[in-house]
């Protein structure tokens, strides 16, 4: 029986028509009568003691139902270190930290209430940088750091300091590495904080029903973690918590952190469980909710005169802001992949998470990998230049390959890592490298091309799990239910394609439950780390196996033959050597009825699950361990045109060649990689949360916080290599974050080449170039 392949074929996403017609429903579209609205009063200083809060006037304000402060049900939260009160108690640690929440009949009444609260602070010295935070006798942001409970037992906060964690990689023999090196190159970097800027700002509704059910409606990448954390922090029986997540309007890691959910729950509990909605404005989203880490780094690399890298020493300081959230885990990511996709035998890396009085942080597309990629890729260009080597040659020469060891001493295989050399070679072609990487035009401008390789692994918990449940309709079509939130890349459709491929049926006949409801949806750890295709994909293949077994079992009875002789395709079960003998799914899904009318078997429900296996924590002193099952590698390039006359530039091209293992949905894959490059160019050229000396955020609105806008994009090129990952569904690797990771480094490499000055700080604006070239003083001729 013939069937058409369902993967490797561009497939319109299941929710496409709803999205393009505006019919798609996001969390804020869920408008219900009798919903109260909450607004947050935020801290106006970055560090200080709360001397007093007067809520009297707000409580008496029209429409206000309740006002809660940090004294209301105090508790500490945090996925790695329990260091953050949802509402500041006694002390504020960043500008924008919630100090009180006003719950009112309407949003305007809640806002009016917020304006009536009077707070007095006793300012404390502000820790406005990593350097200040690490000084001896630095002001402590968390004086009780040594006493905090750490849900992640592999994190090591240092009491009486501002250090949240310290990850070490000690691989090989550094003395040997340096002694074998003919040249040594050093470098530093600084990458600022930036924001996610998902189109849909964070928003949550909560209610507590009279029967004790806590309903949380939230725009989240981690609905199951919301349930688990609310259980742990507020001792609500987990089964009483139901988290509902419809389509999510972009997330980029920012909605992996649990933030407004705590506030909405507390707010609802303060008004007898009535439904309370809390929605960030854009300014709230930038200021109150967590953003991307900032990082400082110092690197040193040694190589032979032939360009073989012998040693790498690097130190990264990760600015986690006021609360750790996933900061330490990102610092760990930076350490475990600090070498980039290169074989380096001797590595000494320290990655240190530091508290400051900046806004706190969480994952942002790439999970720290942008930092180590920037570090190593800038360093490689400097090394290549010193050795008078081509940037491609030095990368290909050192490209990691089967049998090498990762910084955590994990064995590299083609299957678990893919083929970076193939990516580089293809990139060289698509960027027309042979014409040169620096071209002077007749107009007096200079066109340059910069490249960067990258690799990324997931760094997920050692027990992350995922489940799938399949039910069937009377027409033999399948309902697919799993717990990943559809945050934009079309993964609900990807998983449907994988199921359709295994079931040898048309993806049109697979119906996806688009939302997540933690009571009826099987758990998926979190929709993060580019792991959905891998984890849910494996779970759905297991579910398909279960379904096929059940269908064959009952089909064998119906067709009066051995199950071993049966095969499935096109929603039919047929006898392998006699395809004309078959029975359709529709005649089996609710049991099989004999011609006599007697029925057997009953409704078919299939299930499948997946758990990450074989992962181990890293050794505290050497970093040895297995933190992931696989990497994805890619090579990226940026082409710019620089005008030396007025120090300005424009973007011409950005390219990515990624080893996707297997491309499931080609246009969707292109889209996600392209979107990633767009974000990368934003980080490279303009995105920057600017704090003043008192750690007050200066650009908290889109008037002043700039991102790459539509129409400013260069030409995008996306290409794929397909080296299958054996344990992944049809070989497919994660590709969701990778488009972002190497672009800033490739851009900085192109820029450094064009300008003739090394750029080790982002973002690079025209003014930055002018300052670098002229010293920032204007001499009028």
């Amino acid at each position: 029986m013939e069937n058409i392949s369902q993967i490797g074929v561009t497939t319109i996403r299941k929710e496409a028509w709803d999205k393009v017609t505006g019919n798609a429903k996001y969390n804020s579209d869920d408008i219900r009568p009798n919903t109260l609205q909450a607004k947050i009063l935020t801290s106006t200083i970055a560090h200080g003691l709360i001397k007093s809060i007067n809520i009297e006037k707000a409580l008496n304000s029209k429409g206000v139902q309740a006002v809660i402060t940090g004294d209301y049900y105090p508790a500490l939260t945090g996925s790695i270190i329990n260091d953050r009160p949802p509402i500041a108690k006694d002390k504020v640690r960043y500008f924008g930290e919630p100090v009180a929440v006003v719950i009112a009949n309407s949003e305007e009444e809640a806002m009016a209430g917020v304006n009536l609260i009077e707070v007095e602070y006793t300012p404390l010295p502000v820790v406005a940088s990593v350097t200040e935070a690490l000084k001896p006798n630095a002001t402590l942001i968390h004086e009780n750091l040594g006493y905090y409970y750490c849900p992640d037992y592999t994190v090591y906060p240092v009491a009486h300091t501002n250090i949240a964690d310290h990850v070490k990689i000690r691989k090989g023999n550094m003395d040997l590495g340096w002694s074998e090196s003919d040249v040594i190159v050093e470098s530093t970097l600084y990458l600022p904080k930036s924001d996610h800027l998902a189109m849909e700002t964070r928003n949550t509704m909560a209610e507590i029903t009279p029967s004790g059910i806590v309903n949380i409606y939230t725009s989240s990448q981690s609905p199951f973690a919301v349930k688990e954390e609310l259980n742990k922090i507020y001792k609500i029986p987990e089964g009483n918590i139901i988290v509902h997540t419809p389509l999510v309007g972009g997330a980029f890691g920012g909605k992996a952190a649990i933030h407004l959910e705590y506030l909405a729950y507390l707010a609802s509990s303060a008004v007898d469980g009535r439904m309370v909605r809390i929605t960030n404005t854009r300014e709230d989203d930038i200021t109150i909710s967590p953003s991307k880490i900032a990082a400082e780094g110092k690197l040193k690399i040694g190589a032979t005169k032939d360009g073989i890298i012998k040693a790498l020493e690097c130190t990264y300081y990760i600015d986690c802001g006021a609360y750790a959230d996933t900061g330490p885990r990102m610092a760990k990511s930076i350490a475990i992949d600090c070498s980039g996709p290169y074989n380096i035998e001797n590595i000494h890396c320290d990655s240190i998470s530091v508290y400051t009085n900046h806004g706190y942080v969480t994952s942002l597309r790439g999970f720290g990998h942008g930092v180590c990629t920037f570090g190593i890729e800038r360093l490689l260009d400097k090394l290549a230049s010193k050795l008078n080597m081509d940037p491609f040659d030095i990368r290909i020469k050192n490209a990691i390959a089967e049998g090498n060891k990762s910084p955590t001493q994990d064995i590299i295989t083609l299957s678990n890592t893919g083929n970076i050399t193939a990516c580089l070679l293809k990139l060289k072609q698509v960027m027309n490298w042979n014409e040169g990487n620096i071209i002077k035009t007749d107009k007096g401008t200079i066109i340059t091309k910069g490249i960067a390789s990258l690799w990324k692994t997931s760094n997920s918990p050692t027990n992350a799990s995922s489940g799938v449940v399949l039910t069937l309709n009377d027409d033999g079509s399948i309902n697919l239910n799993f717990g990943a939130s559809e945050i934009g890349p079309g993964m609900k459709t990807t998983i449907a394609q994988i199921l359709a491929e295994r079931m040898k049926m048309d993806v049109e006949n697979i119906h996806v439950f688009m939302d997540v409801n933690t009571q009826i949806t099987p758990k998926h750890w979190k929709t993060v780390a580019s792991m959905t295709t891998f984890m849910v994909g494996n779970a759905v293949l297991n579910a398909a196996k279960d379904l096929i077994n059940q269908l064959k079992e009952i089909g064998g009875i119906a067709l009066k033959c051995s199950q071993d002789d049966l095969e499935i395709a096109n929603q039919k079960i047929y006898v392998v050597h006699r395809p004309d003998i078959f029975i359709s799914f529709k005649d089996l899904v609710n049991g099989y009825q004999y011609s006599s009318g007697k029925s057997i078997y009953g409704q078919i429900i299939a299930k499948g699950s997946y758990i990450t296996s074989g992962l181990t924590p890293l050794d505290k002193e050497t970093g040895k361990g297995k933190s992931a099952n696989s990497w994805t590698v890619a090579a990226q390039a940026v082409e710019i045109e620089y005008n030396p006359e007025n120090y300005s530039y424009r973007l011409l091209k950005a390219a990515t060649v990624i080893d996707a293992g297997k491309v499931i949905n080609p246009k969707a894959a292109r889209g996600v990689v392209m979107g990633g490059m767009s974000m990368g160019l934003g980080l490279a050229t303009r995105e920057d949360l600017i704090y003043d000396k008192e750690a007050i955020l200066q650009n908290s609105s889109l008037r002043t916080y700039k991102l790459l806008r539509f129409g400013e994009n260069p030409e995008y090129i996306v290409d794929f290599i397909e080296t299958p990952q054996i344990d992944a569904p049809y070989g497919a690797r994660g590709i969701a974050e990778h488009g972002t990771i190497g672009i800033p480094a490739a851009f900085a490499n192109a820029m450094s080449l064009a300008v003739g000055t090394e750029f080790d700080t982002l973002p690079i604006s025209n003014e930055v170039i002018w300052k670098t070239k002229t010293g920032g003083k204007y001499d009028s001729f």
């Binding site: 949003e107 404005t281 700039k706 129409g711 400013e712 003014e767 002018w770 300052k771 003083k777 204007y778």
Partner: protein
């Protein structure tokens, strides 16, 4: 979401609008005249602007005039930047307004709003300063028509209850050689680091700037330097920059030193361009 309530009025005549203003003002409502609302709405939601009554002037016929009559271009204050751009009677002004905000907002921002707003750039004034347009105003003390140069010192200064009804530009200016250069931190559409507008009138270069200082301006002193044929190009630029005695903007958009550099660069290009025009 705007946290406070305010009343909304849309009078049909200037007289009614002015009367309303004074009545609401005496009732302590802190009224404001309202055009497209882009500034008021975006600032009120952040508690940066407060009023208890807005008086929408878009229903007043005189404020919606947009025509050339008796050798004069008449532009009502309620016409939008999109209107200006599409009719394009005054190409220099057309260029300027097409670089203010994105298209959706250009459809809303009115000429009056851009001229009278609190956001400091007010770029459409650049073309009006160069053509020394007449401004038609009306308040409780009556109607008056004044050259913009008489009332514009850093911003257009008018009585609280006065409505800016129209702007009248001598048709002669519409076809003069002109130049418009806008530099921003990154984007095509953004607040300016510097916007420069210039026209060449009878061999004299007239020039105005936004983004350089905390207000848009035309400086006769700068024009004198530029039109001094005894000075070389380099000398002119040096003197122009030295002649700016007020504080040059220094903010997260760009440093004052960088703005100075940018000014030199823009002027240098302007000379070359105008030389081409002849």
């Amino acid at each position: 979401m705007i946290a406070f309530d305010f009343e909304y009025y849309k009078p049909d005549t200037v007289e009614d609008a002015v009367k309303l203003y004074n009545k609401l003002n005496s009732n302590g409502k802190k009224p404001i005249y309202y055009g497209g609302g882009t500034e008021f709405i975006s600032m009120a939601r952040m508690n940066n602007r407060y009023t208890e009554a807005v008086i929408d002037i878009k229903g007043i016929p005189e404020c919606n005039v947009h025509e050339i009559k008796n050798n004069k271009l008449i532009m009502g204050s309620a016409i939008t930047l999109t209107d200006i751009s599409e009719a394009n009677y005054f190409p220099l002004l057309g260029y300027i307004v097409r670089r203010i905000a994105d298209h959706t907002i250009q459809d809303k921002i009115t000429l009056g709003g851009n001229l009278m707003g609190t956001i400091i750039y007010r770029e459409s004034i650049l073309a009006l300063l160069l053509s020394n347009c007449d401004i038609v105003l009306q308040g409780s003390k009556g109607k008056r028509v004044v050259p913009i140069s008489d009332i514009c010192d850093k911003k257009i200064g008018i009585e609280d209850d006065e409505i800016l009804i129209q702007v009248i530009v001598d048709e002669r200016f519409l076809s003069l050689p002109y130049l418009h250069v806008k530099r921003t931190k990154h984007e095509k559409i953004d607040y300016p680091l510097i916007t420069m507008a210039a026209i060449k009138d009878k061999n004299r270069t007239l020039i105005s700037f936004s983004g350089l200082c905390e207000y848009p301006f035309r400086s006769l002193k700068i024009e004198e330097i530029l039109n001094d044929s005894s000075l070389s190009k380099k000398e002119k630029i040096k003197k122009v920059i030295e002649s700016i005695t007020d504080k040059i903007l220094h903010d997260i958009g760009g440093s004052s030193e960088y703005r100075k550099f940018m000014l030199g660069d823009i002027l240098s290009r302007a000379f070359d361009k105008f030389q081409e025009v002849g």
